[in-house]
Symmetry: C2
Subunit: 105 residues, 2 copies
Amino acid sequence: MKFFNAETFLIPPEWQPLARVFAALGDEQRQRILLMFDKGERLNVGQIAGASTLARSTVSHHLKVLHEADVLCSEKVGKEVWFWINRPWLEKTLGNVLDYVRRNC
Amino acid sequence: MKFFNAETFLIPPEWQPLARVFAALGDEQRQRILLMFDKGERLNVGQIAGASTLARSTVSHHLKVLHEADVLCSEKVGKEVWFWINRPWLEKTLGNVLDYVRRNC
DNA sequence: TTGTCATGTTCATGTTTTTCGATATGTTTG
DNA sequence: CAAACATATCGAAAAACATGAACATGACAA
């Protein structure tokens, strides 16, 4: 068994940002939102809410979760906030997990 | 915007097994369990429960979730049930997502 | 066989977290 | 200021999580 620390078991700290990504992507509504984005596209809350069955405030909440997990970037322009996928981070994160699996599983 | 279907938005069916993987990996305790496995190692419920702070029944539940997401394989030998990481599936799933990100994000 | 112990799952319950919409508040534009 | 857009907060409903007790099964010894 791996990573023993006396009696208890500790998650390596480099896994924690990753944990947020998985938690964020674990929700179906948030997956739905992510899949809406076209390559390189930027969308605002209204557009996403319009394409979903959720209330605008609910969409805003999910966007916040995705943003805190660094899965989405955002920029406020005038009275609108534009979101887009953080491709480099997503690519790096998934790549790291894949490497980990290949090396340690 | 992508994948429009009249008014509502549909998740492509090939994403559903993947969604289960992310949901399974979204929980911290389940991450903890996964990280316990050494390369190629097989562990039973008692060993995992012993290395965690959770009750055996709780561990059993989490193992069931991981198994239903195909993240773990299991085999019953005698009175013990042995679990191990489904490396090929995990590798394939993460690889698919990574490809998707590279192609469509 | 019968009894006992070890292992794992299922069930009922209680707790905690998440989800969601409504409303109120904040910002920016015209 | 008024209108449009987004966010924050709150409470209710739903889902997920954790636990011990009860149950099922297999190993093993008397």
